[in-house]
Amino acid sequence: MSDWAGVLMFLVVAAIFGAGGIIASFVIHPRSKAKQKLEAYECGVPSIGNTWIQFRSSYFLYALMFVIFDVETIFLYPWAIKFQSLGSFAFIEMIIFLFILIVGLWYAWKEGAMEWI
């Protein structure tokens, strides 16, 4: 049996575990009715306006940088594993690689992508 089947089992059983907990709770918990019970909680007063609104996301640029650098790591890890067996040429290549990305990072910094808008 392959390792990955084991992983699949973990995934499935974990989901079942979660679902089981919720369902068991559903069976035994008491329930009641009240007028305002199902309304959104907002410190006890009725919520004003729509909730699923356009959200001013100052986080967007962070996410962008994250994706870019996350992709970078998928190149870095194979290199890191081979680091000891590869020659210094590979190290220099990687330095160039990183340097190019660091330029990007520096640019992002300079442009204030890391500032909170």
Binding site: Q54, R56, Y77, P78, I81, L86, F97, L98, I117
Partner: protein, 174 residues
């Protein structure tokens, strides 16, 4: 040539999940659901990669696509206004036309794929075990130019995206 029955079952199940969620991505009306189906699709695709013995690819599929790209799309969604979240992912007017075009492409593709005698080129050489090691070696020797170009591409994308989005910030002060 896959012989193990479990692999066959796994393939069909994964394919079903992938195609099912792909259809849902297109079909659902709520863009957030769309993204979540996208994530499901990506994760099961990682399963397909595992069947194909591409372990590293499977992992980065989850890491990059489900973990990063989906999240960025979510950010994008949150930034853009819509009247109602529940009606945020509708079809446009050319749906029928699109369906026609797609049906034709699919037909052509299917015919071509069916005609080609893939089996001829299939070899049974097992994939070497430590694929990650190999990939690292290859990237830094044989594919070193694309490797550096990838870095360049990423940087350019980063700079470009920031430049596009920068105006967001520049105007942000007023």
């Amino acid at each position: 040539m896959e012989t193990c029955i479990y692999n066959v079952i796994a393939f069909y199940m994964l394919a079903a999940v992938i195609l099912g969620s792909a259809v849902m991505i297109v079909a659902v009306r709520n863009i957030v659901h769309s993204v979540l189906f996208l994530a499901a699709c990506f994760i099961s695709m990682a399963g397909i990669y595992l069947l194909l013995d591409a372990v590293y690819l499977a992992i980065i599929q989850v890491l990059i696509y489900a973990g990063a790209v989906c999240i960025m799309i979510i950010f994008g969604i949150m930034l853009i206004r819509r009247a109602d979240m529940k009606e945020s992912n509708l079809f446009n007017k050319q749906t029928k036309l699109a369906a026609g075009v797609v049906a034709m492409t699919l037909a052509v593709y299917g015919i071509l794929a069916g005609k080609t005698a893939w089996t001829d080129v299939t070899s049974n050489v097992p994939v070497p075990a430590d694929s990650l090691d190999k990939i690292g070696g290859l990237l830094l020797s044989q594919y070193v130019i694309p490797f550096e170009v990838a870095a360049l591409l990423l940087t350019v994308a980063l700079i470009g995206a920031i430049m596009l989005a920068r105006e967001v910030k520049a105007d942000g002060d007023n």
